[in-house]
């Protein structure tokens, strides 16, 4: 479903109820994935999702069609996920020294991960990244948003996104170390 036609943009910005239900159908799975990966928590995704869609609906008149509806929804979802993390998991916002990640060794429990498949290994490593790098890797490399779109979603400039992408990829490489070989 493409909602980028002028008529659909108008309908959306007029808070058209039926179109909004179609949008929920179309995008809830993809937004669920993004929110779940950012928060590392399945239980609160429903709350974050309903706030995301409700805010999108309530502020639909602010949507001018400069970006796609999906990008608009993702920017609200990322913001809601951040607010959830700040409220519910403030300990996650303790500054994490990047070199600590480099020094982290896989313990026996971590070694069990070796038996898991590549997808599980990657999800695990992703969940260990500091939030700002995790967000950018999810958006750039999993969801395949462009630098420009990611900058728009994260409300940052493009050079910041480029730097974070580079650091995030190197950190992910450090976390996975020798396991990349089998990927």
């Amino acid at each position: 479903m493409h909602l980028n036609s002028r008529r659909e943009q108008e309908q959306f910005s007029e808070s058209d109820h039926d179109l909004f239900n179609r949008i929920v159908d179309e995008y809830s799975d993809r937004l669920y994935s993004i929110i779940y990966r950012i928060t590392n928590n399945r239980e609160n995704v429903l709350d974050i999702l309903q706030n995301t869609f409700y805010k999108a609906y309530k502020n639909a008149d602010r949507f001018r069609g400069d970006s796609s509806i999906y990008t608009y929804l993702v920017s609200i979802a990322v913001n809601e996920a951040r607010q959830y993390l700040r409220k519910e998991k403030p300990h996650l916002f303790m500054p994490i020294e990047e070199n600590l990640i480099r020094k982290r060794h896989y313990t026996t429990a971590d070694e069990r991960m070796i038996r898991k498949d590549r997808r599980a290994l990657l999800e695990d490593a992703l969940s260990k990244l500091p939030e700002k790098y995790r967000e950018v890797i999810i958006l750039r490399d999993i969801e395949e948003f462009s630098i420009k779109e990611t900058a728009e979603i994260m409300n940052e400039n493009e050079s910041t996104i480029k730097t974070r992408t580079r650091r995030g990829r190197f950190l992910l490489r450090d976390l996975l170390e020798s396991k990349i070989e089998g990927m």
Binding site: S28, D29, V45, Q50, T165, I180
Partner: protein, 79 residues
């Protein structure tokens, strides 16, 4: 060593196809000579592919139903 540091700075742009021709050629030349940077490039390429192939985490059907019902109720109440 200086070349490796420079390579690290632009290797991601190279993978993303965002590096201009002149810098790309310089990087390729270095990578042909430096095993360590070649390994970094291979690893980052593999990681990027692995990320792209990472599956969408599917929302449970029951949750989707609940989501729609909660949103519609919220909208109807506030309207």
């Amino acid at each position: 060593m200086k070349e490796c540091k420079e390579a690290y700075q632009c290797i991601c742009d190279y993978i993303d196809g965002d590096l201009d021709q002149e810098h790309a050629a310089k990087l390729e030349e270095h990578i042909n000579e430096c095993r360590q940077c070649r390994k970094v490039l291979e690893d980052l390429r593999k990681l990027k592919t692995a990320c792209r192939e990472q599956k969408e985490i599917r929302m449970p059907d029951e949750m989707k139903k609940r989501l729609k019902s909660i949103i519609n109720e919220k909208i109807n109440t506030k309207e």
